[in-house]
Symmetry: C2
Subunit: 452 residues, 2 copies
């Protein structure tokens, strides 16, 4: 649905609500895809939103809730009667139901759990045990499994029996009589093979799986690398316990990229765009502002220390922003490349020196270009070619330092099991500001003392 | 495959090559997944890499080439004999074959095209016509389509007939006798319906598709939003011409996120980690270094202009880095949130004022906190509470300015059809440095003139 269409529908709904034309609002709900309804709800004001949501049947409502952003979902869910909420949760897949229940206050969660179907309750309670960002935390319990000594026909029968409940079926998993995952059969294969063949004879026994406690980022890497549409999840005894489908992996990839980007900009936790609490946003952003503030007091000390130099070479102060900004940029370019490589690959620290060497060479090349430019500016604007040499050389050194520091820090953090993205923006920039000023004003002081 | 395992295999292969033990290297190739082989090739030196690649049969080689990063792929492909290259391309799906052919020099591309099967040649030539970053450019021609007046049994027969050629089958597409896309049937539905039913009676006629010239980013958004495993591509007459599977969408999402992150760090085009040409890396990174360099000369002018103020209030210079860094951080936090919202949603400029207002309020809140801190530092460290007030107020204003500017610029660029990510890092930071210094030194000058 295009933005323009969505806007039109939003306006339509607002008009119809105003006119108290409930039947036509219901018509729009029936005609619109749940994913679009979710987007529309996000644009309505609170009162209209709750009203439109109240007109949806439980099945539509459950599809819509699944598609909502976290903030809107929390808002809507917190307004619902427990009975209605239970109806909606009852319609969901186990993984989505768990996400909703996990966000509820304990007493309401308990009420909801006790009013949904016993089997669903057991499933949700089982899934609630896994950490949110692990394979167990994002897997669903809806999947098709057959014993490897069953036939193709048995598998097709099993699909028929559970077609209603398991929405997306890409593969059938083969387990042995102990429940251990032993193979996978694409559903296409079932169509083309003789119905009497044994599953074990047609299955691919080189099945790629993850364990319940595999980090979701790792799961996403594996799915992406092997181009899978779904991945089975096993426990520590290799027993098949769940399945993660690609649409959830896409959400993980998306979330992780967003988190990386935001962390690199000094935003601690993922900030969703619909977040409206100023206190929460501020709390999310202030830590790095404070760290950088304290760090830059270090810069103030450096400037204080080199006060004499700056008062003798007046023009040295003018180029402080150039030095800081150029060093900062070189450092961010370098650390961004390294952070992305660490967060995307399994490389570990194996490539550290190769990568640092690469950044060093780029920094020398670009530093020479910028250095010559700074020399020219100082020589021709300020008519001071001697200090121009100092400035040009200093900015080259600053860029080299920033680039190398920017490449090493993420590796060190990664080794310490700290997300390297968190360091990239403010931390590296602040440290590089201090180093940069030390290098620049240190060079100026040496020049002043020995060559002036 | 874990990093440790891969390292071991790489070392094994190096050892075996050294021992000239070809049979064992062949064994490793047979036992390893193509995606893992691709990663292994990327870690071997050029000579070993070409040797290992030469031992692969055409089918394995084609799977491996598809999984390689751009730089390694170009390297390997450029070393191949035309005959071998043609064999490999012949084994590929139409979309992957097109990617490889598109990268070849014209004369070699022509030779390869004339030696592959005529039907494959026609397909590749057809796909070469579409722009690389559109639905046409990433779609494959391998999909299953049946007429809507055919039966479930006909569809199953068609799947059987083409099972070899079409690897991933999630859906069967229904077309009318004019070739127009009219519906979609999940393969699961074929298994559970009566074989004699007509496709038109069981299909979902609300099929979500894209046209050949839809931007790949838009395609990814749609697939993500509607949780699809594959999306059909139609021409401007709604005739079904291709299909994009989720694994290619995952690559697009990944590529776009990477591009966003790198652009925000002032890296113009996506820089792959395997890139080894220093000149190419430098050319990719120097533009923003230069733009920022020139911009910061503006800062030098500002400092030059306020020379008198700084020489009268000596301590004012010390806090220049604090002002620049804090303004820079606030600006980047604000613009990052807006850039991501623009690149992820279809929102257009509709939310501009709401978003700017939100950033303004956050900036006021955080600016008050940082402002009080700066006041305290100047008052207690430098014993100058009066200038502390000036500094504290100035940093509040600087943060407000940076945050609002950082929120507006991406919207303006987006409106001008320029990728907002490109502006976020260096451009906004540089502009905010100049504004920040103007605000800070301007405030100091007013204080000096009227209140000192």
């Amino acid at each position: 649905m295009k933005t323009a269409d969505r806007k039109e529908i939003v306006e339509n709904i607002e008009y119809l609500i105003n006119e108290k034309n409930e039947p036509l609002v219901r018509n729009i709900i029936v005609d619109t895809h749940p994913a679009d309804l979710a987007e529309i709800l996000q644009e309505l004001d609170d009162e209209d939103r709750d009203y439109v949501f109240s007109l949806m049947d439980a099945e539509t409502a459950s599809d819509v809730v699944t598609e909502l952003d976290d903030v809107t979902r929390e808002d809507i869910v917190s307004e619902l009667e427990t009975e209605r909420l239970s109806e909606i949760v009852d319609e969901m897949d186990s993984d989505d139901a768990t996400d909703v229940v996990a966000e509820l206050p304990d007493d309401i969660a308990e009420q909801v759990l006790s009013s949904i179907e016993p089997q669903d309750r057991a499933e949700v309670e089982k899934l609630l045990d896994y950490a949110e960002d692990t394979a167990g935390g994002i897997m669903a319990l809806e999947f098709i499994a057959v014993y490897d000594d069953q036939t193709v026909d048995d598998a097709i029968r099993e699909i028929r029996r559970r077609a209603e409940e398991v929405e997306e079926i890409y593969n059938v998993y083969a387990i042995d009589r102990g429940g251990r995952l032993v193979g996978v059969v694409p559903i296409k294969t079932l169509l083309i093979r003789n119905p009497r063949r044994l599953i074990r004879d047609i299955m691919n026994d080189d099945v790629i799986s993850v364990t319940v406690d595999t980090d979701q980022e790792e799961v996403a890497k594996i799915v992406r690398k092997y181009n899978l549409a779904a991945i089975p999840v096993v426990d520590h005894h290799n027993r098949l316990v769940g399945r993660i489908t690609i649409d959830d992996i896409v959400d993980v990839l998306h979330e992780e990229a967003n988190e990386d980007i935001q962390r690199m900009a000094g935003i601690t936790d993922e900030e969703v765009l619909q977040e409206t609490s100023m206190v929460r946003i501020s709390r999310n952003r202030i830590p790095w502002l404070l760290i950088s503030f304290v760090g830059e007091l270090g810069s103030a000390f450096v400037l204080d220390h080199f006060d004499a130099t700056m008062s003798q070479i007046i023009i040295s102060a003018f180029f402080i922003p150039v030095i800081m900004a150029t060093g900062g940029n070189a450092g961010i370019q370098s650390s961004t490349i390294v952070v992305r490589s660490l967060s995307l690959m399994e490389g570990g620290t194996s490539g550290l020196w190769r990568r640092v060497l690469r950044e060093l060479r780029v920094a020398i090349l670009n530093g020479l270009i910028i250095g010559v430019l700074l020399f020219s500016v100082i020589a021709f604007w300020k008519h001071d070619p001697q200090f121009g040499l100092v400035g040009g050389l200093a900015i080259l050194l600053v860029m080299i330092n920033s680039a190398v520091f920017g490449a090493i820090v993420p590796f060190v953090l990664n080794k310490m099991k700290i997300d390297p993205a968190i360091a990239t923006g403010p931390f590296i920039t602040t440290a590089n500001d201090i180093f940069g000023l030390l290098i620049y004003l240190g060079s100026s002081t040496i020049y002043l003392r020995y060559f002036y």
